[in-house]
């Protein structure tokens, strides 16, 4: 315990810890802010072709011209493939498909060539919606447009990539899992390297001999792993708190309307719709940013955080023991350099495992990576975020966790042998036969 507390104090007192604890989450928050504020700004001007076979729209969109969108109208049915490939449509950035039943089913499709910015999506949706409202009021009601807007229901507009209409290549939820897995591995790697350096430093400055005269090598190793782990956990908690408070703050102050369309004062909007600047403000506040939705609504934070912690701790113990063993077997501090490369390869393999399961969640390879302790923390996070562990699959996450915990115990056992036999060896060349011999000795 004393060893762990000393490690913890040393880590907390170090400049890098303070920097990583403060700047790290602030950078993430800054990144999130940028994503919120400029959610994929791309093309500034869009040519939209409105395919309106039945002429419902009457070749009109908005009363006031929107400088960022030009609409052209075609009164025939245009196939998505035709729009994608035909020469005559190449000057249009998107195809707004208005089906004949749009007034009753309230479904529209926008097929785009290049993913539009959130702002652009909102503008198209908004303008289309307003136009339909006018038409619906005229067609079905005796209400004034103003009254209608008070009672209207929101319209669903789906944006589809013409080359990937079902959006198969990207899965934002899976990416959240990947992010979680990435965080696990970033922390494990950073703090694993810390363990390795700390062990090799104690070896090279010989304090280890004084320590070993009071505690067993096993206690020393566990103390070190736990101490550094506690500092990692503390840092993680700081991250969670800072990012959590930051997200809450952003939600409450900077982007209050993003999350709830009902927050929008439709009445005011209708009255002031003529004012272009007000339109801009309204669009900005109403942007139903995919990223915002992802962060605030779609991610099951509680569930993911619980498993995140479990896999983080078990994964950390597994890798921590490995790093401690590597540190103990090194002949000199410079030996660490040659070990860092294979460890980075291992890390990349784990991250690639996550990426692989993101793209091929059902592949047999993923089934293997899912139980392999080197890769399971990130693969499980991805699968969890993808909602894989439904009924019938729940046991798999526990099985994977069990495999990871067992591997961590085994690794701790092996590492303690290497640690015990290697910690007092200085200035030697690391040889495999030594490592095997140390492993054999109890």
């Amino acid at each position: 315990m004393l060893i762990a507390i000393r490690e913890l104090k040393e880590r907390i007192g170090s400049r890098s810890f303070l920097l990583f604890s403060t700047l790290g989450p602030l950078i993430v928050l800054g990144f999130v802010y940028l994503m919120f504020a400029f959610g994929g700004q791309s093309k500034q001007h869009w040519n939209v072709l409105v395919a309106d076979p039945t002429g419902i729209m009457e070749n009109k969109m908005m009363v006031n011209d929107d400088k960022s969108i030009s609409y052209a109208f075609a009164n025939d049915y245009i196939e998505m493939e035709e729009f994608a490939d035909a020469k005559k449509y190449q000057l249009y950035d998107a195809l707004l498909e208005v089906n004949e039943k749009v007034l009753s089913n309230k479904v529209g499709f926008v097929f785009f060539r290049e993913s539009p910015s959130i702002r652009m999506q909102t503008r198209v949706q908004y303008q289309f919606e307003r136009r339909l409202e006018e038409l619906m009021v005229k067609e079905f009601t005796s209400l004034s447009l103003k009254d209608f807007r008070k009672i209207k229901q929101p319209l669903s507009v789906n944006f589809r990539d013409v080359y990937d209409p079902y959006n198969e290549s990207s899965d934002l939820s899976g990416w959240v899992g990947m992010f979680y897995g990435g965080v696990i591995f970033t922390f494990i790697f950073l703090f694993g390297i810390t363990i390795m350096r700390s062990v090799s430093r104690e070896k090279s400055n010989r304090i280890v001999e004084v320590l070993l005269a009071s505690v067993s090598p096993n206690q020393l190793m566990i103390g070190k792993i736990v101490g550094v782990g506690l500092s990692a956990l503390l840092q993680f908690v700081v991250w969670v708190v800072v990012i959590g408070v930051g997200l809450y703050f952003m939600r409450e102050t900077l982007f209050p309307d993003m999350l709830n369309a009902a927050n929008m004062n439709i009445h005011d909007l209708t009255l002031q719709v003529d004012s272009q600047s007000y339109q801009d403000t309204a669009f900005a506040s109403r942007e139903y940013n995919q990223f915002v939705e992802l962060v605030y609504n779609r991610v099951q934070f509680v569930n993911m955080t619980v498993f995140f912690m479990l896999f983080f701790i078990s994964g950390y113990l597994f890798y921590g023991a490995l790093f401690a063993a590597v540190g103990a077997t090194m002949g000199s501090e410079s030996d660490g350099q040659q070990f860092v490369i294979p460890l980075i390869v291992l890390l990349c393999l784990a991250l690639y495992g996550g990426y692989y399961s993101l793209n091929y969640p059902e592949s047999p390879m993923v089934d293997v990576l899912h139980y392999l302790p080197f890769t399971s923390p990130v693969v499980v996070m991805v699968k969890l975020a993808q909602g894989y562990y439904g009924p019938g699959h729940v046991y798999e996450i526990y099985l994977s966790l069990l495999a990871l915990i067992s591997s961590a115990c085994l690794m701790l056992g092996l590492a303690s042998r290497l640690y015990k036999n290697g910690i007092l060896q200085f200035g030697h060349r690391v040889r495999l036969k030594h490592i095997f011999k140390w492993l054999k000795k109890s």
């Binding site: 004393l2 060893i3 000393r6 040393e10 007192g13 170090s14 104690e202 400055n205 010989r206 304090i207 280890v208 001999e209 004084v210 320590l211 070993l212 005269a213 009071s214 505690v215 067993s216 007092l424 030594h434 011999k437």
Partner: protein, 309 residues
């Protein structure tokens, strides 16, 4: 049982290289015991085995009459040869940490730190980081860390290296006081003068084996050459003429102003008294003594022939 430590037939090998071979020794309570030997003889390995840092392949160790266990470690103080400190900790923080690691409570650790910092006059260093200390200053801190928990048995591996003569003397005095207080000290050093000055007994290890053990005078007597030295004022010719056939001049040092030290070897049954009798009246004797080998001589004598084998 008067032994603080009893080492019996300890052997240890690393990758087929024998570091200790059947080493046995006994350290009496309340003595300063010298552990001597050339570099690579196995002294540090033996110390590590005693401290349970390294496990012996065979043999046993008894501490204060009992078979040694981990519980005895808190009664041992250890200053390793290759000693280190956490460079970014403060002097006080470091001492308290190691004191607590040896079983002291936080409060006791602070009390002992106050006592030892006062005693060594290093109160000003308390808040300094270890990296700010000179080598000698760090050595003092390391010594304090080793004795902070008031161990019954203190093991010091090369405690004088890196110290100036004043601090060497300071450490020697501390060790002598500890002995007077009933503590036992095991001292591994190459400083043979210190061994002669403060050690009661010593063991000499060479090539992983014990080659000699005993009190300092026993070790010296076992290797005495039969030489006697006389310091006198007068004529060298008169001195030589006075010698009976029972004596032989071995060598001489000229001190100046007709003063000499002459080493004489006895022949036949001649004794030290016979020598003094024949010289009285011939030269003015200032001092006369039996020439005993220094620990340096004994060390070289025991180690060198074996090295040339």
């Amino acid at each position: 049982m008067n032994f603080m430590l009893e080492v019996k037939n300890i052997s240890k090998s690393f990758f087929r290289k024998e570091a200790l071979s059947e080493i046995s020794l006994r350290v009496n309570k309340g003595e300063i015991f010298g552990l001597l030997g050339p570099n690579g003889a196995g002294k540090t390995t033996l110390i590590r085995v005693i401290n349970r840092i390294v496990e012996q392949d065979s043999g046993s160790i008894r501490f204060d009459g009992d078979l040694m266990t981990e519980n005895h470690l808190s009664q041992i103080g250890y200053l390793p040869e290759e000693r280190g400190l956490y460079k970014n900790m403060t002097v006080e923080g470091h001492a308290v940490f190691l004191g607590k690691l040896r079983g002291l409570s936080r409060k006791d650790a602070h009390i002992k730190v106050d006592y030892w910092f006062d005693r060594f006059g290093i109160n000003d260093w308390r808040k300094k980081r270890i990296e700010e200390l000179s080598k000698g200053m760090a050595q003092k801190v390391q010594f304090i860390c080793a004795v902070l928990h008031e161990p019954k048995f203190l093991i010091l591996d090369e405690p004088f290296s890196g110290f100036d003569p004043i601090n060497v003397d300071l450490i020697k005095q501390e060790l002598i006081e500890m002995r007077a207080a009933g503590k036992t000290v095991m001292l591994s050093t190459h400083n043979m003068k210190s061994v002669e000055e403060i050690c009661d007994r010593a063991v000499l290890i060479h090539n992983s084996k014990k080659i000699a053990e005993g009190t300092i005078s026993e070790l010296q007597n076992a290797r005495k050459t039969g030489l006697y030295a006389v310091r006198f004022r007068g004529s060298m010719i008169a001195f030589v003429n006075a010698l009976w056939t029972g004596f032989e001049v071995h060598d001489k040092d000229i001190l100046g102003d007709d003063r000499f030290i002459v080493r004489v070897k006895m022949r036949g049954d001649s004794s030290f008294e016979d020598l003094l009798k024949v010289l009285i009246g011939q030269v003015k004797i200032e001092a006369a003594w039996e020439v005993l080998p220094t620990m340096d001589n004994i060390f070289i004598d025991l180690v060198q022939p074996k090295e040339s084998e």
